[in-house]
């Protein structure tokens, strides 16, 4: 990492941000004052059913983690960054505006260096409105379209900001529905920069392990349920492998890690990442355990680095006074959105 690390600290606004605002004003689209502040929802983005499940990455067992070793590595030699995002959705009668803050922090010498990227997209089912603007997007299913835009913007942001020869912790799954191709593309490009991408999933109802391992079948509601029961705090499961039956590129290695006596997290590597950095993986798991302890929220275990990135994501969203920017527009918001700020 460069000594002039402070040059990483920046807030970038998407080039089309202002044009989109101008067009919304021109089209007299009024955006409500109160957004729905949230993160991207990947809870339903489970493993596709068409996977081939392989268990022979490691013997099925619990593995103790060493936080001290993790602390030494973090403070001595590793170059680490982390990514999270925060978004505001504004529902109006004409469609939905999605304001996203992509946030990456880099562990610098004695500070976290933040970079943030703000994007704005407007989705409508009204073709006439969309046809009148190159910035308003026609979409029958805005959730799908917005996730695609999100993935494209995220990839662009991370590929231009992530330092070479580093580790990046990314909040969200590696493989899941239409996100898979974008995320795997990101993964491969990061690998070409000698960056190790590691993905984190907090809430998941996936039961890939409990469905495929004979001894576990029908005994647990989900993999998370099984991992919580089998792991003690400070342990992880062995690694499992998943490969898409039809697209061998869609493969990942994953395990569950329990830092505190609450629901574990799933840690995911792309197969190619795991193969390339196999020797470092144990160290990295200790680092991850340490960073969860440092965050120190037993009720909501989270990686410290991702939690800091999330803070910046939320703060930078506040910088855009969206209601003020849009105040000139004049179309009525939906009643619930206007009165109670219910999104989506």
């Amino acid at each position: 990492m460069t000594e002039k690390g402070s040059s990483y600290s920046k807030l970038v606004i998407h080039p089309k941000f202002n044009e989109t605002i101008n067009d919304l004003n021109r089209l007299n689209i009024k955006i409500p004052n109160y957004p729905d502040n949230s993160e991207m929802d990947f809870t339903m983005y489970n493993f596709p059913d068409n996977g081939e499940f392989v268990t022979n990455v490691e013997e099925i067992k619990n593995i103790n983690l060493d936080a001290k070793r993790g602390a030494e590595l973090v403070n001595d030699s590793l170059s680490i960054s982390a990514y999270d995002e925060s978004l505001n959705k504004f529902a109006s009668l004409e469609g939905i505006a999605v304001l996203i803050s992509h946030s990456q922090i880099i562990h610098h010498k004695d500070d976290y260096l933040p970079s943030n990227f703000l994007t704005l997209n407007f989705y409508t089912r009204a073709k006439t409105i969309a046809e009148d603007s190159q910035y308003v997007k026609y979409s029958e299913e805005f959730e799908t379209e917005s996730k695609k835009d999100y993935a494209i913007d995220r990839n662009e942001f991370l590929l231009s900001n992530t330092p070479n020869n580093s580790i990046i912790f990314i909040d969200g799954p590696l493989i899941g529905k239409q996100m898979s191709s974008y995320t795997i593309e990101l993964n491969n490009k990061l690998l070409s920069k000698n960056v190790i991408p590691i993905f984190f999933v907090k809430n998941s109802s996936s039961n890939l392990v409990t469905n495929h391992v004979k001894e576990l079948k029908d005994k647990y509601n989900s993999d998370m349920h099984w991992a919580y029961r089998t792991l003690k705090p400070g342990q992880r499961t062995n690694f499992f492998s998943y490969i898409d039956k039809y697209n061998k590129q869609n493969g990942k290695i994953f395990c569950y890690l329990k830092a505190f006596d609450v629901s574990p997290q799933r840690i995911e590597f792309h197969t190619s990442t795991y193969q390339r950095y196999k020797k470092k993986i144990d160290d990295l798991m200790d680092v991850i355990f340490y960073l969860q302890l440092v965050q120190g929220e037993p009720k909501n275990p989270q990686l410290r680095s991702i939690a800091i990135a999330e803070k910046y994501a939320r703060e930078t969203l506040k910088l855009i006074n969206f209601a003020k920017v849009m105040a000139k527009a004049g179309i009525t918001p939906t009643i619930n959105q206007d009165r109670f700020g219910w999104g989506g």
């Binding site: 936080a67 602390a71 500070d111 302890l293 120190g296 929220e297």
Partner: protein
């Protein structure tokens, strides 16, 4: 080190430090910052009213128990400063103040900006100071150079109260002010004269000698202000004529003189004020009896003892003739208790009056340009003499100034003021002092009261004291000044540092006085 405006909260401008160098730290309370709005070409001067350490990443304390090292990034600290608006430059004239916009930068104010803020380029130089926790420091600019400000000269004539414990710098500050008044007062009729009362050891008796200190910090302060140590050129010590000179070698005996009061010169109306511990009725009756005696019985060379003999004559049986200021005569019957009280007080006072070989001070002795007169009241019964003499002198000075006989400004310094007025039960005793305080501005008479406790100030006089400087003293006293000292231990104020409420200079809260150039020798102070 720079700060960024976060916004305004509860009337305070909130700034957050941006760590750009290794010198980052917590800005002290009382510091002045300049917020520069380059777009609007505006500057805002603000003063830190509260300051704290902020840990933006608020790391979990759990890892301490786990014996794990912290992330260095989590140890990041910021300084959050809550500021009061002091001034906007240039000032608006449309009845509004400009917004201080979030996200703009602030830095420590420099000397030029401080001069603009305080609006005084002339006056007595002192250092604005800051406090935090148990630390008190002078204000510096970003280059580390100490800032100074000038206390306007008219502050002297709005009367002042200085409090502080022994060793807090109270007396040294008085010496510094005296010397400024004697040498640098820029008023039309200046420089001034100083009358001071020495109440402890030889505190004020070596003002003719230059100060000496080995402290580099104090020497640097002189250098920063362009001052050089030197003694007061015209200096006299007056001590009670009933005592003998008993000073150390440090005191120049050639500058000492015995003094007394002459009965023949005493105005009957002020006699009650001169005599301590008499009742109100006694204070009413004594002047008219005394006037009758002076007019009808007093012979050349008569003393107070002769009046006492007249007053105590048993043949008179406490029946007297009084004479009012219109010289009308009338009989007076004095109650035995009052008679006894007046007789006791008069008898006690005789030791100060009509002493052979001692002379009486006049207003002309005190009111001389550049002259410092010290009345030494250290020693047995000397406080009583001081009280009597002081009242007499005040009357003379007030009278001379009122009649425009002397235009020279005068500064009167009364240390341990309660010793002189604490037992005064008559209105007369305080009347002259009260008049001096109230008319100080027009007559150019300044009074500095010094005491360990603000409540020692004579009743009624407190209302006319417009400047208060509290050196290290009881925290309750400091809180009573209305200065926010939360987060600071006032017991930790270093010598010379004080908390101030100065007339016409409300922007200044904490002050550091330099060492006076005269009268302080290292090791003694």
């Amino acid at each position: 080190m720079v700060w960024i405006v976060k916004g305004e909260e509860k009337g305070k401008i909130v700034l957050i430090s941006k760590n750009v160098d290794k010198n980052a730290g917590i800005l002290h309370k009382g510091s002045y910052l300049t917020i520069e709005d380059n777009n609007d070409k505006k500057k805002f001067i603000v003063r830190a009213d509260d300051t704290l350490q902020h840990n933006p990443y608020s790391p979990s304390p759990l890892i301490v128990d786990m014996d794990l090292s912290p992330l260095t990034q989590d140890q990041k600290c910021q300084n959050i400063v809550f500021c009061d608006r002091i001034m906007e430059l240039p000032e608006r004239m449309d009845g509004k103040s400009s917004f201080i916009k979030p996200q703009i930068l602030a830095r420590r104010s420099n000397q030029e900006e401080m001069d603009q803020t305080f609006g005084t380029r002339e006056g007595m130089p002192v250092f604005p100071a800051t406090v935090f926790a148990r630390s008190s420091q002078k204000i510096c600019d970003d280059q580390g150079k100490s800032i100074n400000i000038k206390i306007p000269e008219d502050v002297f004539f709005h009367q002042m109260l200085i409090t502080g414990r022994t060793g807090s710098g109270k007396t040294v500050a008085m010496k510094y002010m005296s010397q400024y008044f004697l040498e640098d007062l820029c008023l039309e009729n200046g420089p001034g004269a100083v009358l001071a009362i020495n109440v402890k050891e030889e505190d004020l008796l070596t003002m003719d000698k230059k100060s000496e200190t080995k402290s580099k910090q104090l020497q640097d302060e002189w250098k920063d202000l362009g001052l050089k140590p030197h003694g007061v050129e015209t200096f006299r010590i007056y001590y009670p004529g009933n005592l003998s000179s008993r000073y150390s070698q440090d005191v120049d005996s050639d500058k000492c003189e015995r003094i007394t009061l002459k009965t023949e010169n005493v105005d009957p109306e002020t006699l009650s004020g001169l005599i301590q511990n008499i009742t109100d009725i006694g204070a009413d009756q004594l002047p008219v009896i005394f006037r009758f005696w002076k007019e009808r019985h007093m012979s050349s060379g008569d003393t107070l003892a002769d009046f006492i003999r007249y007053f105590a004559d048993p043949n008179r049986n406490r029946d007297y003739t009084g004479m009012n200021s219109r010289y009308e005569e009338f009989p007076i019957r004095m109650h035995f208790g009052t008679y006894q009280s007046v007789l006791n007080a008069l008898t006690r006072a005789t030791e100060y009056f009509d002493i052979d070989g001692a002379r009486e001070l006049t207003a002309a002795d005190i009111l001389q340009h550049g002259k410092m007169s010290v009345i030494d009241v250290v020693g047995k019964s000397a406080f009583g003499f001081g009280a009597v003499l002081l009242r007499d002198l005040f009357e003379k000075i007030y009278d001379a100034k009122s009649r425009k006989e002397f235009l020279i400004p005068v500064l009167i310094e009364i240390d341990e003021v309660h010793e002189f007025y604490g037992n005064a039960r008559s209105r007369e005793a305080l009347q002259t002092l009260d008049s001096i305080c109230r008319k100080g501005r027009s007559l150019e008479i300044g009074v500095i009261f010094a005491s360990q406790n603000p409540s020692d100030i004579p009743p009624g006089i407190g209302n006319v004291v417009n400047t208060k400087i509290y050196f290290k003293s009881d925290p309750a006293n400091i809180k009573a000044l209305g200065v926010n000292i939360s987060g600071f231990d006032p017991e930790a104020l270093k010598a010379g540092y004080g908390i101030a409420r100065i007339h016409g200079l409300s922007q200044l809260k904490f002050v550091k006085f330099p060492l006076s150039m005269a009268g302080v020798q290292d090791g003694k102070k």
